[in-house]
C-alpha cells in the first residue's frame, strides 16, 4: 500500500511543480486504456474497491457502449516513489480521428504520454497518428504493451515494433496487464521517473490552457485547464483571452476523480473551473484563461476555432418534430463547441437543419444522441464536405449543401484534403494502394513497421473518405486495416454536381458533388438504387441523373397497371373502408416529389450507404 494517499498528499495550489507528472494515455479503441485507468484509480486509492465500476471515467452511456471516449477528464492521483510523494495528473484524451484538435490540446497539457498497445494486435493507425502528435508536442513517450496475459500476446514482436517507431530499445517497452494489474505499479514508477515535471513561471501573470470543456446540467460549463504560469485562485475574476469575456470564478478544484474544490491551481497543476456559463462555446478548448486583474497580455499559442469538416442535412421523419429537433440541437451545442447548424428546407424532406461536424464519427455520435436521448426519428442526407467554388467573375461560394452548388461559369472548385495514415498486414498493400488510387489519393510514403505490417501515407480528398471509404477498406482488407486522417488543406479538383430527377423534378436531397470521372458511375448507381426503392405509381416515372442539363443515366419505374380489389361484396365493405383509411394514413407519410409519392423508407435507404459511416472507424 502506498504511503502517500489523498489525505496526506500535496494539496492543490501548494504543490511543487517538481513533484507533478502530467501524462495521458494514447491507445487504440479496445487496447485497454479505460481498464488501465481503472487500475491506476485503484492503485492510487482515489477510488476504493467498493465504488469501482468498469471504465470509471467514461461517463456517458454512448461512450460506454461504443467503447469510445469522447470527453476527456483529468484525474489527480497521489503516488509515492522512492519515498517522495508525487502528484500524477492523468489526462484522458478523446480517442478518435474527428477530435484531432482536442487531442492535440490534451497532449499540450502533458509532458509525457503512455503509449498503450495491445500485445496481441500491435499499433493501429489511429494510435500512430496520435503518437506522431505527441512527438510533435515533445512529449516523453512511455511505451507499454498491454494484455500480456492473453494467450495470443506476442510481446517480443510488438515490443520491437514500438521500439522501432519511437527509437528506444525493445527492453524499454513495459509489459502490463491492465486487467490483472500486473506491471501497473511499475508503470506508475516509470511515469514518475521518465516524464519531466511541468515548467512555468510562478510569478508571471496567470495563464492556463483550456484542454476540455464540458456542460453539466447542474453546474453549467466545467472547464478543464492546465496552469502554465502564475496561479488561479478561487473567487477571482478570470478572462478568456480569445474573446476578452470575463467571468466570476465560482469554483476551482481538481478531480480525484470526483470534483473537489480547492483554494486554487498553481504552476503545472491540472484542474477544473466553474464560472456559471451555460454554453461550452464561451469556454473553448485551446483558449487561454488569465486573471482579469493584472492579467497576461499574450495568450498561449495553438488556439483554433473548431471548424466543421463534414455536413449533413438532418430532417425529422415526422415534420411536427421540427421544433423538438431544434431544441435538441440547442441542448447538444451547450456541450459541443464544434457542432454548428442552421435551418434548411428541402423540397423533398421538408424542414430540417444543415449540420456541420468535425467528421464522420462526430456525425454518427450526434445523430445517435438525437435519436436516443431526444427520441427523434431522423432522415440524414449523405454526408458531404465543404467546397469553395470560385466563379469566372472571381466571386466565391462556400458550398455546404450540394444542392446549392452554383450554376454558371465556374473557374475552379476547391475541396478539402486529408493526410491519411493506413496500417495493415503487408499482404493487403496492393489492395489498399488500388483503393486509394481509385479514390484520387496521392501516395506520400510507405514504411514497414515490422516484416508483416506496413504503414501507408496518402493525401486523399476528404470527400472520398466521407463517401464509403471505411466500408471499402474494410471489405478489401477483411477488416485488418486501420485508418486515421487529419485535414491538411485543400486542392482544386474537377468536380461536378450530379442531380437526380424524378419525373423531371430535381430531388435536392440526392444531389451530390463528385469528381467528373465518377459522375457517370454515381448517376447509374443512384438511378438503379432508386428504381428498386420507388414504388410504381399511376404513371411511368423516369429517374434521371444529370450533370447540368445533360442526362447521364436513366431508369424507369413502370406505371402501376393494376391497383384494384377484385371482390367487394357485403362482407368486404368494412374491411375495405378500414384498409382505405390505413392506406390514406400511409399516403400522408409519403414525401411528394412533384407528383411522385416517395416513401420515407426509400429516402432512408437511398441516402444510407451500404453500411453507416459509424462502421469501420479505423477499428479493426
Amino acid at each position: 500500500m502506498p504511503a502517500t494517499t489523498l489525505s496526506n498528499a500535496p494539496e492543490p495550489s501548494r504543490t511543487d511543480p517538481a513533484v507533478i507528472r502530467n501524462f495521458c494515455i494514447i491507445a487504440h479503441i479496445d487496447h485497454g486504456k479505460s481498464t488501465l485507468a481503472d487500475r491506476m484509480l485503484q492503485l492510487t486509492e482515489v477510488v476504493d474497491k467498493r465504488q469501482m465500476r468498469e471504465q470509471y471515467l467514461d461517463r456517458m452511456d454512448i461512450e460506454r457502449e461504443r467503447g469510445i471516449t469522447i470527453k476527456s477528464q483529468a484525474v489527480r492521483m497521489p503516488w509515492e516513489a522512492e519515498g517522495t510523494p508525487y502528484i500524477l495528473n492523468m489526462i484522458d484524451t478523446p480517442g478518435h480521428v474527428d477530435f484531432t484538435y482536442e487531442v492535440s490540446r490534451s497532449l499540450a497539457a502533458c509532458e509525457g504520454c503512455v503509449l498503450l498497445v495491445d500485445a496481441a494486435q500491435g499499433i493501429e493507425a489511429q494510435t500512430l497518428a496520435n503518437l506522431y502528435l505527441a512527438m510533435e508536442n515533445d512529449l516523453t513517450i512511455v511505451p507499454v504493451l498491454n494484455k500480456i496475459d492473453l494467450p495470443a500476446a506476442q510481446p517480443e514482436k510488438f515490443a520491437a515494433e514500438l521500439a522501432h517507431l519511437i527509437g528506444c530499445e525493445p527492453e524499454d517497452v513495459l509489459r502490463v496487464s491492465a486487467k490483472t494489474g500486473e506491471g501497473v505499479p511499475g508503470l506508475l514508477d516509470q511515469v514518475v521517473k521518465l516524464v519531466p515535471p511541468p515548467v512555468g513561471n510562478p510569478d508571471a501573470p496567470a495563464r492556463a490552457m483550456i484542454f476540455d470543456s464540458v456542460y453539466d446540467a447542474y453546474r453549467g460549463v466545467v472547464t478543464y485547464v492546465k496552469v502554465v504560469d502564475g496561479r488561479l485562485g478561487r473567487r477571482e475574476r478570470i478572462q478568456m483571452m480569445s474573446t476578452g469575456a470575463t467571468h466570476e470564478l465560482l469554483e476551482i478544484g481538481t478531480n480525484s476523480p470526483e470534483m473537489s474544490a480547492a483554494d486554487g491551481l498553481a504552476v503545472g497543476e491540472v484542474g477544473y473551473l466553474i464560472t456559471g456559463v451555460k454554453d461550452v462555446r464561451q469556454s473553448r478548448v485551446g483558449d487561454t484563461v488569465t486573471t482579469q486583474h493584472r492579467g497576461a497580455t499574450e495568450a498561449l499559442g495553438g488556439y483554433k476555432d473548431p471548424k466543421p469538416m463534414v455536413f449533413s442535412g438532418l430532417y425529422p421523419l415526422d415534420g411536427s418534430q421540427y421544433p423538438d429537433l431544434r431544441e435538441a440541437l440547442d441542448k447538444l451545442q451547450l456541450n459541443d463547441a464544434a457542432l454548428v447548424y442552421e435551418p434548411e428546407t428541402s423540397a423533398a424532406l421538408g424542414f430540417g437543419f444543415r449540420v456541420g461536424f468535425l467528421g464522420l464519427l462526430h456525425l454518427e455520435v450526434i445523430r445517435e444522441r438525437l435519436e436516443r436521448e431526444f427520441g427523434l426519428s431522423l432522415i440524414a442526407t449523405a454526408p458531404n464536405v465543404v467546397y469553395r467554388v470560385i466563379m469566372e467573375d472571381h466571386s466565391e461560394h462556400v458550398v455546404t449543401n450540394p444542392s446549392e452548388f452554383p450554376v454558371g461559369k465556374i473557374a475552379e472548385v476547391h475541396e478539402p484534403v486529408v493526410r491519411a495514415t493506413l496500417i495493415a498486414p503487408s499482404e493487403y498493400v496492393g489492395a489498399i494502394m488500388e483503393l486509394c488510387q481509385s479514390r484520387r489519393g496521392a501516395m506520400r510514403g510507405m514504411d514497414y513497421l515490422s516484416e508483416e505490417r506496413v504503414e501507408l501515407r496518402y493525401t486523399l480528398p476528404l470527400a472520398e473518405i466521407v463517401f464509403d471509404f471505411f466500408d471499402a477498406l474494410k471489405s478489401k482488407t477483411r477488416g485488418y486495416a486501420s485508418l486515421d486522417y487529419e485535414p491538411t488543406g485543400e486542392q482544386t479538383a474537377d468536380l461536378v454536381k450530379v442531380d437526380i430527377l424524378l419525373h423531371g423534378d430535381k430531388v435536392d436531397a440526392f444531389s451530390a458533388i463528385v469528381h467528373k470521372d465518377k459522375a457517370y458511375a454515381y448517376g447509374v448507381k443512384m438511378a438503379a438504387k432508386l428504381k428498386e426503392l420507388i414504388p410504381r405509381q399511376q404513371f411511368e416515372v423516369p429517374i434521371q441523373a444529370a450533370v447540368g442539363a445533360r442526362v447521364i443515366a436513366r431508369e424507369t419505374v413502370r406505371a402501376m397497371r393494376k391497383d384494384v380489389l377484385s371482390k367487394c361484396y357485403g362482407g368486404d365493405i368494412s374491411r375495405k373502408r378500414k384498409l382505405l383509411e390505413k392506406q390514406k394514413e400511409g399516403k400522408k407519410r409519403m414525401k411528394m416529389v412533384g407528383r411522385v409519392e416517395v416513401p420515407q423508407e426509400a429516402f432512408i435507404a437511398a441516402l444510407s450507404s451500404d453500411s453507416g459511416p459509424g462502421e469501420g472507424k479505423g477499428k479493426k
Binding site: D563, V564, C568, G570, I573
Partner: protein, 411 residues
Amino acid sequence: MPSALPAGEPVPASGALPPAALRGAAQRPLGFYLHVPYCASRCGYCDFNTYTASELRLAQAPATASRESYAATLAEEIRLARKVLGDDPRPARTVFFGGGTPTLLPAEDLVRMLDTVRQEFSLAPDAEITTEANPESVTPAYLAALRAGGFTRISFGMQSARAHVLRVLDRSHTPGRPERCVAEARAAGFEHINLDLIYGTPGESDDDWRASLDAALSAGPDHISAYSLIVEEGTRLARRIRRGELPPTDEDQHADRYLIAEETLGAAGFSWYEVSNWAASPDSRCRHNDLYWRGADWWGAGPGAHSHIGGTRWWNVRHPAAYAAALAAGRSPGAGRETLTAEDRRIERIMLELRLSGGCPLELLTGAARRAAEQAVADGLLDPVPHRGGRAVLTLRGRLLADAVIRDLTD
C-alpha cells in the same frame, strides 16, 4: 366473405338496432343474404368462412352445427330478424344464398330457408332469388326443385375451362361440366345464370384465359363475374407459392387478363356494370349485389355473415357451432358491429359507387378531391364526358387502378 372479422362494438343479446338505423327504412330496399358454411372439401385458394365435414369433426362441433339441422338453425335467425325489424313492412327484394356450397344441402333445405324469409317478410313480386352452386353438386332434378321452390337465378363457380388451372385451384369439377350446368339450368327454367371465372392462376396463360372466357360465353349465361386470383395468407396455395412449387401471381399479368376479359366479353355483347361484373343486358345485372353497392339494407344470416341496416353494420360469430349455440339460447349471433358516421357513409359511397359503370356524383367529393378528379380525367382514369355532367366514372384504365382513384377521391 373475408376470413377476418373486423373489431367492433358488442351487439346486444336481443340484436336490437340503434333507433337511427331503422329511420327511413321504408325508402330503402331490403335484401337477405343466407350463408351456408359447408363445403365438400376446401379449395387451395379459399379462406372463406366455410367448413368441411372433417373440419367440423375436428372442432368437435355439437350436433346443432350439423348440416342436417342447418336450415332450421338459420330459420331461427330469420325469425330474430323479424323481431329486430319489428313492424318494418318491407318485403325482401332479393335473397342470395352463398357459401360455402349452398348446393351441398338438399334442395328442400334451401327452399325451406327461402320459405322462412317468405313467411316472415314476404317476397316482392319480382324478387331475385339466387343461389351459388358448384357445377359438380347439382343435377337436373335438383335444379328443377330449386326453380319450383322460387329460385330465379343461379351462379356457378366455373373458374376456368382448363383442367390444369382447375387442379391448381383444387376445383373438383371437370372442364365442360359448368357449361352443361348452364344448359340444365336453362332447361329447369332459370332465366338468369351467372358463371364465376378466376384469372391469373399460377400456370394459366393468356390463351388459357381466352379459352375459359370463350367456353363460358358459349354456354350462354347472361352474366359473368371475373375475379383475379388473390393469394390469401394461410391458404394452401400461399404455402405452395412460398415453397416455390408454384410461381407467384403477377399484377401486370392480371391487368393483361382483365383487358382480355373486357375485350372478349364486350365483343360478345356483355357490358361491365361493376369492376368485376359483366351482364348481357341491364335486366341481367345482379340486383342483390347492387344492394351492397348502393348502401341499401340487407340482413346477412348464417355464421360470419355481415349485415347492414341504415348505417349500422354488424357481423355474426364465425363458427357454425357458436352460431347455433347463440340462436339456441335465444341470443343474437352478432359478434360485433359498427355505426357509421356521416363521413364514413360518404367515404363508402365513393368507394363503392366509383366501382360501378354509373360512377359516383362529384357532389360527394370535397374541394381537394374534385381537383384530384380533374387530374384523374387528365390522366385518363376518369371518363371526361360524364365528368362534365357531374359524375366520376372510371375509364377502362381507371377500372384497373380503381383503388388508387378511390384514395385520391376520398381525400
